[in-house]
Symmetry: C7
Subunit: 284 residues, 7 copies
């Protein structure tokens, strides 16, 4: 571990100088080797960074600007890292102990490593979002307590914009679980409430009739139904009858509005009341 030590410990009966020179020569050779090798590695990694950032050509101006900044930071960080490696390695070759320097750098490195943990997790999750095609730009998703249309899927963050115009910026590491609402057809569910006094059979007939009408009118967006499922609930003040339909995901919100309006209007025509909350009064 220590060159100088070796010089003296092993040459009892010789002229010291010769060995000293040879040994010093070896050390100089090693130091030279370290400088040349690290120079080469430095160039190679710079070349790699350049390559990584150049092959992503499809990006827009803002992304290019960002990549440029990132490249500069990475290069700068690498430069200081190489200085550190070269200096400590040279010290070791010269026989000066570097344990305390390395220990200090290690604690610093650990602190940074722990702090960067969530960054690494963001990138790994981001990779799997893209790789497993969990959702794409334009999908309407729910995740991490927010929902909206995906506007950008990056390696570190995903951007979602909701109907109100709120732009949610979510680090991918927060996307533990995703619900994609536009992955397939969506079910439109309307629960029509009728009075307890109303004949259920008649109400179902009226709704089935209405379903046929809606089916014809909106046939281009409806894949299945609408149909009457039956009595969903004997609620506190009403009997709820469920009507469902499978439609293109994007049209679900609008069809729901249409069906609600149509049910209300048809019930008015057929004198089927939609009940308010009821309360039975007992006079004492």
């Amino acid at each position: 571990m220590n060159k100088f030590k070796s010089l003296f410990t092993s040459n009892p009966n010789q002229v010291i100088t010769a060995d000293l020179l040879t040994s010093a020569g070896i050390i100089i050779l090693q130091l030279a080797g370290i400088f040349i090798l690290s120079k080469l590695l430095f160039k190679f990694i710079n070349y790699l960074i350049k390559n990584i950032f150049e092959e992503k050509k499809g990006y827009d101006k803002q992304t290019k600007q960002r990549n440029k900044t990132l490249k500069t930071i990475l290069k700068s960080a690498l430069r200081y890292l190489f200085y550190f490696v070269v200096v400590t390695t040279s010290l070791q070759v010269l026989g000066i102990p570097t344990a305390s320097i390395l220990a200090g750098a290690g604690v610093f490195g650990l602190a940074v490593g722990f702090g960067a943990q969530s960054l690494v997790e963001d990138i790994i999750t981001g990779f799997f979002i893209l790789f497993e095609n969990q959702f794409g730009v334009g999908d309407y998703i729910k995740t991490s307590g927010v929902e909206g249309f995906v506007t950008e899927v990056g390696l570190r963050t995903t951007r979602i914009k909701n109907f109100d115009g709120d732009l949610h910026i979510i680090p991918n590491g927060n996307i533990k679980q995703v619900t994609n609402l536009t992955a397939d057809l969506r079910r439109v569910t309307v629960d029509a409430a009728i009075e307890y006094e109303q004949d259920i059979g008649q109400a179902i007939t009226v709704l089935e009739d209405l379903c046929q009408e809606v089916k014809l009118e909106y046939s281009e967006i409806i894949s299945e139904g609408p149909k009457v499922l039956g009595v969903q609930e004997l609620a506190a003040s009403s009997v709820n009858i469920r009507v469902i339909a499978m439609v293109e995901a994007e049209e679900a919100w609008q069809l729901e509005r249409v069906m609600k309006q149509k049910i209300k209007e048809r019930f008015d025509e057929e004198s089927i009341g939609i009940p308010y909350n009821h309360l039975t009064l007992v006079e004492k």
Copy 2:
């Protein structure tokens, strides 16, 4: 640890050159060995990767595409890893200290290792889901705050689609606890509410009669019951009588709707009112 050192420390009375050459020869031999060994290992692991990805033949196109991508990434990662191992090992053979290089790589490795932790957990949990046969494609499950039919069980994620068409994509590590609703028969539970003024005995008789009727009509899907359990609750405004039945899991939702409608209709026939909320007014 250092070849050059050895050269000089141990050959006091000899011609240095001879030893130097021999020692240099050994080093060259070792370096050659390292290159050959790592080349072989590299090939072997490449062969393993190829094997692992080829034996899963049943998968569809998308999966094949994904596996191809994953294979490329793994190979690329391995290549850089091998470069690193070969270079640092060679440096050690040449007597250049590599402690600071290894320490830096270690911190980087730890950061990646910590970040990849949830990935490892996903895969281990995924393995146990498949291995313990917790649920399969088509089962209706509740887990991690969502519910729906399982559409895909992967090693890293599980996909669940609910009645509304929402596609939930859940990393397996999030599936701490699973509730399988279609593992066995399901119980249909309907609480029939009657007025406090109503005779309980009569209501139970009516319900038992209805149960017999439903049993006959739906015998092909009902395994047990329906039967009247008794007075479940003396609620604020009603006496609730519970009726239960064991049916095929898939039919439970529909039978519940049928029974609610039948109870309402039979109660209407028998003039048993389903009570609204009651309030006793005290005039001051």
Copy 3:
């Protein structure tokens, strides 16, 4: 640490070849030893695995199939582990530094170790559930937010089925705290609500009379009581009188229903009204 080094550093005035041969012989001996030892250990561990999986004979077909799969995976994992140990140990014997290889494997091992943490916790908790006999198959328990009858207690997961037929699969590590509802007798608690205008003394007499009747009728399942505890609450619209009984755990739900029906019927006979919510109106 390095055999080749030794060869040259220590034999200044001798014929090098002889020593080289001896030293090479030693290395060959050591390598042979490594191969033989690891072969033996490999066989021994395979034998252990076989033993562990064979002595559990009481299991059914599914468990046998599972054990077979697990055995294959374990054997395969062990095989690769042994290859790794043999190769790195041989490299060390040959004087090639393995620090960087070991460091890489260490990071990989740590990632797997961290990811497997919850697996280890599941197994340790599972061991204590069985060892401390916290609950057994057939018990009705509450744990980790769900409740139901235990259908299987495994080393890694516990399965619970509730009245509705939901099958909860819970990793044992999630079972932080267990409530066993069928460990002992259960208390049936019914709060009979009477009007504020009602005489409390009379109501208690009626209930005590009813308790005697229930005691006789259900003496085979009731261990203690039923008895009247007294006025539990002066509630917003009623005076609540508590009646309790200690019964066999399995019969508690049914007896509760019976007692509620009986109280309602007896109160009807005795013209003791069960009050609705009251509201005092103040006209302005």
Copy 4:
């Protein structure tokens, strides 16, 4: 670090065989020493285990059975541990590197160590519960979201049974914070609600009179009071007057019931109404 190496590196001009034999002899001596020492340690630890489990004589049958199982497991685990230590130590003595074996065992050990963390925490907390005498068998405590009478305080778990017969089994590590309800006297608190129209002074006089009566009747369980504190709240529909008493913890629940009944009856006698919710109606 390597015996064979030493053999050849240090005896240039001698007959090799003699040294080889001596050196081999030393190795054999060391190996023998290792086997004897580990055998002795093994016996000593077995003896310790036996001692630890035997000196706890007061336990019942179930505990004995459990201790026996635990003893067998501990012995078995120790046996394999000793095999591992003896084999790796012998390998080191024979000059075969064991770094990769130890690293693998270390990762395994860490995984187990992390998984066993909560076990260690359970035991440490359990020790302090017993040591600090936080609660004993028979105490009524609240902890970790449940409450009931303590039925068993173990080193790893505590068992609590509530009034309903639910048996809560809580790992001690979950007992972060304990509330002991039977550590001392308990306060019985009854808030008597009177009409806003009622004279507060008169109501307080009636309650104070009642307190005297209760004090005399239940003097053997009441330590202090009951006494009237005053107007606790000008509530939405009533003026609430608080009455408190300090009693033996076990009697608190029953005395509360008694006082509620007595207040109701006395208020009836004195024509002090307990008000229902009030609502002022404004006709438009």
Copy 5:
């Protein structure tokens, strides 16, 4: 690192026995040194333990008993620790590798260390509670979800008893944040509700008059006020006027009761009604 090795590697041309003896002598000397040193250290630490536990003389019987138990446990733990250190150190001196033994002990030590983490945190927090004088025995505090009077502040736990007699035992590590209610004067806040039809000015005059009266009557406990702050809220059915006063912390609860009663009585005298909830009815 290995004495026996040294024996043979360094004495090529000598009589082996002499060196062997000398070397063995050194080893015996070192072993003796280890035994003597550890004996001394053992005694020193025992002496320290004794000292630490003796200088706390003010404690009562229970604490003394506890200290005695703790002393015995500590001594016993130390004894086994010393055995371990002496044995492993001796093994190292004898040239037997102890890496695998130390690794095993290290994993065990880590598990215990992690498990004891919360114990260490308890003690550190406990130290700061005492050191910063956050609260003392007799203070009424809120912390960790409970509140009550502090009855004991220990180094590991704090005990709090509330008005109802519940004894909360809280590990200091749970006391993240403390609210001390008796650190200073307390504000008594009473919101007097008047009808919307009532003249606010008149009500304020009445309240101010009342405040003067209370100020005189309770001057010994009131530091400031009571005074009328003004209209705190235009609530759903009332106008709320706030009255505040600064009093001795211990008297705050009682003064609040007094002021509520006085406001009610004075409002009755002045015919200022305290309104019930109002509802405007719209007949259809």
Copy 6:
């Protein structure tokens, strides 16, 4: 590792003094080297610190003051760190073991490193907020449970001020997820409630007419709409018709107020009532 040792172990037949002197000379040379090198490094890092803090010239007075403080602290910390490294390295050169010193410093370093973890995370997140341009000063954002206008984006904290004047100071590490409300146009959503008796068609016509009017009047801030979407909900007491418009983010709050007032006024003109909650009374 130890110079003195080397002196004596390797020079059996020589004059000790000469070697001692040479060896001592080497040590002195190394110590000198350490002092010179660390002095240079110290100066270089001081130069770096100076540079880093000087090139940020745009900052205001307060920032300058803060940078000056930070510079002083960093310099002071570095000074003590260098003292530590120089002393321990010198001790190692002198052959005095420093393992126990380094271990102590390591534990201290780890404690600081763990404690500084959240600081590192703050800075990394802060960098990405700036780098990815997630939001800027003046944006109205929601994050970490608060919302308001961004007033400052720092590397460690972000400051947000809400409409009420509350200044939220949030460490960047808390900003896991951001919602930017002023990133783009905002949608104004008003749900107009009409009576169930009201004709839906007429109400929609009135609202569409109003929309045209608002469009003309506020054309400079409205990008799209307002338009009537249809029946959003058949609510408990009303039919809700949704009207939306896309506007400049800053104007959204004001336009919403305007539209609510206009809808109320227009409905008054057209005698379309906005319904109160309805309740159907059933007299017993």
Copy 7:
């Protein structure tokens, strides 16, 4: 690593005694060096501690007392730490292995280090609170679930007192996020509720008139407004009109009370009713 070993391994043909003496001399020299150095370091650190605690002269008596206690504890801890370092270093110099001692101390150190983690975090956060001037004594802040006036900002804890006199003591590490309510002007917001039947225009005129009046009367504390924003909400039973004003933070609470009273009084004058909750009754 071992002096005694060196003695015997390197001096085959000499008189042992001479070397032994020299070598022993070196050891004695090193031991002496260790003692002197550690003594010096000990004194230096004591001097540092003294300096750190002396330069904070502004503190009051209590702080001085506390600093004195802290100084004593720190000195005592240092003394034992030095004893440990000196003893283990001396053992190493004497050739006795200290690996197992250091490992034990390391585990102890880690446990303390982990436990002290939150202490370090408290101090780092405390530094940034002071350094970034997040809030000062006298500010009214919300943080960590409590709010009140800051009474003390320490390096480890912050003390906040609310209006009721509660003293919150919060470790700085809990202060993740701060809301400073007195950093700038505050907005007073009053929502005036009017009947649906009321003309909005008239109500706004009345409120604007009132705003002018308040502006004049309280001009010294109001910076902006009060002004009428418009219809904030078409609520269930009222139309809410928002009035806002920017005032000195300290005056906000009082001005809000004043404005509420004035609005009520002015509405009374103008016969604008503040509505109660409305309910439309539908008789069946």
